[in-house]
């Protein structure tokens, strides 16, 4: 006679035995409508056969068998991040998992508090786009975690998915050089986020490879990745009299703000100054000056993140600790 398993079942176990969804089991337990009498009977039998003691949901949480995954993003009003989050959500759903989206506004204390909440409700895994240089990941060290776009300082067994930012930076600088620019500025995010840093390194490498000297006085930065911050910054720069004939902006919103500042000061784009962005968001296409930009494959990033986290949750081995996704140049009207 097989040994009777005494450990109480998780909500996932019950849903499997009953052949219904976790949500349905939860509804039966909570006596919350929308299930057939037959389903109710089956679920309740499994529960009583296994000496199950409610609260089932809390139990499910306790055994870490939940069907939701925390998705931490810096700013959902930035289309790049909202698109990645939606792609993650779509892919997770195909695996029966749900994304709980936490918007951190790049604030480290908000990021920490969300991690605590997500831990408290026992998420099964975490997909993490941090707004910080030093990603606080102690509390998720033992949890399946996929980082997107921004790598933590110590990776452990987690995975990083990012665009080939270095090549993107090179492409941007090269495009400006080929278009005749010789004083090529850069506007980037002031925080040393790994993705922005790699884009900047690629830009710098390409300038030097082309025999241009790296001009420290043409390196600008903003404390916030937004249209308004970039516009304000570039108006200041022009006020100071610094001259440049090309500029690489490390995101499209920074490029859109830069184009607006240039126009406001009567500079023609691309006649006087050429501009290259990064991301290829919809607004860069619809803008009055459609942007030349470096396209990130948001759909692929989101899909791979979801697929890999599910593998990790299921205990499968992950082959590599870093997946790099190719980028490409999209030429429009600012170069």
């Amino acid at each position: 006679m097989p040994k009777r398993e005494k450990k109480s079942l998780s909500i996932v176990d019950i849903s499997k035995l009953a052949g219904v969804s976790v949500a349905t089991v939860s509804r039966v337990i909570n006596k919350n409508g929308r299930f057939s009498a037959e389903t109710q009977k089956r679920v309740e039998e499994i529960i009583s056969e296994n000496n199950y003691v409610p609260n089932l949901v809390a139990k499910g949480l306790k055994t870490k068998k939940t069907n939701f995954i925390g998705v931490i993003v810096p700013d959902i009003t930035n289309e790049f991040f909202s698109m990645v989050a939606v792609e993650i959500q779509n892919s997770l759903r195909q695996h029966g998992y749900f994304a709980l989206i936490c918007n951190t506004r790049e604030d480290i204390s908000i990021e920490r508090e969300y991690l605590d909440i997500l831990n408290g409700i026992q998420m099964s895994g975490l997909i993490f786009i941090s707004g910080n240089t030093r990603i606080e990941n102690e509390s998720v060290r033992f949890l399946p975690t996929v980082y997107i776009d921004r790598a933590p300082e110590y990776l452990g067994k987690s995975l990083v998915i990012e665009s080939d930012n270095y090549s993107g930076g090179r492409m941007a600088a090269n495009t400006l050089f080929e278009a005749g620019c010789r004083n090529i500025a850069c506007l980037r995010y002031a925080k040393n986020i790994s993705s922005h840093q790699r884009r900047h390194e690629g830009y710098r490498y390409e300038l030097e490879a082309r025999g241009l000297s790296f001009n420290a006085s043409l390196q600008f930065s903003v404390d916030e990745v937004s249209y308004n911050a970039a516009k304000t910054k570039m108006l200041e720069v022009m006020e100071s009299g610094l001259a440049f004939d090309g500029i690489f902006c490390t995101t499209d919103w920074l490029a859109l703000g830069t184009v607006a500042a240039l126009s406001e000061r009567g500079k023609k784009v691309p006649g006087d100054v050429k501009v290259v962005g990064f991301d290829d968001i919809l607004s860069s296409r619809l803008s009055s000056s459609p942007l030349t930009t470096i396209r990130q494959q948001v759909d692929i990033m989101g899909r791979i993140a979801a697929d890999e986290i599910i593998k990790m949750i299921n205990g499968e081995n992950i082959d590599t600790s870093k997946i790099e996704i190719a980028v490409s140049l999209v030429k429009r009207q600012t170069t």
Copy 2:
């Protein structure tokens, strides 16, 4: 001697007694770093004095005293919704609450499943922007709930916050009429979402008040609120030979897609056709044809939603079951 309270404490009670955040209490319980020895001592004393039995988080969940609120939105890639969600989040944080954002893609089954998950993890309240005509709110009938933008069929004790969509529709039609248009079309969302319906009713009322007959053949709709859906639809409309000299689109993304379709067929905006949108998203300002549009006060909607849900959670009486926020005309280059 006062009667000793035997009911076990919630995580919120403990955090109040200890004078630390709920997140900190959770960290102490879960032995998850980042708190001082003093904090640990204080929290543990309160727990033992009150015969508290872990799992604390699960308990907190069970007693419905959590510090997070579900925020259900139809589409975070639409700036209107992402801006509302971020405003809600900012305001909730000032009350010590956190927004867990659930993106439904207007899919009723996803909406239901998120409601079950949020119920399962015992959210304290729900802010709900539904993607559906018949909002499935049985499962949250007893939970503090604020609806934004879209009203449910039966409201119960919940609250609806919405823009004055009817006046907005009137303003849009009036603007087109005043600009000389006499064949004024409308492009709206095919689903009978209350906000879109009210905008359309206002538009229709204004046309008739101005002595124009309502032309059923100039009423167009799309199954999805997006730039691409609107562009495709309006290319089809022009293909069919229908003529109009003005069009009210019930969102900015629909208006941006319409402008793109008109341009692609060689129609001048506003020379040949005038266009009015609704929302006033950033892209409508940056577009190559900056939109005339009806501005919604996203910041106020988000703030009020957060303030009201906190009142409901705290058991305060809510004065009214519906709060209507004023809209205004922003005139740019498409009229």
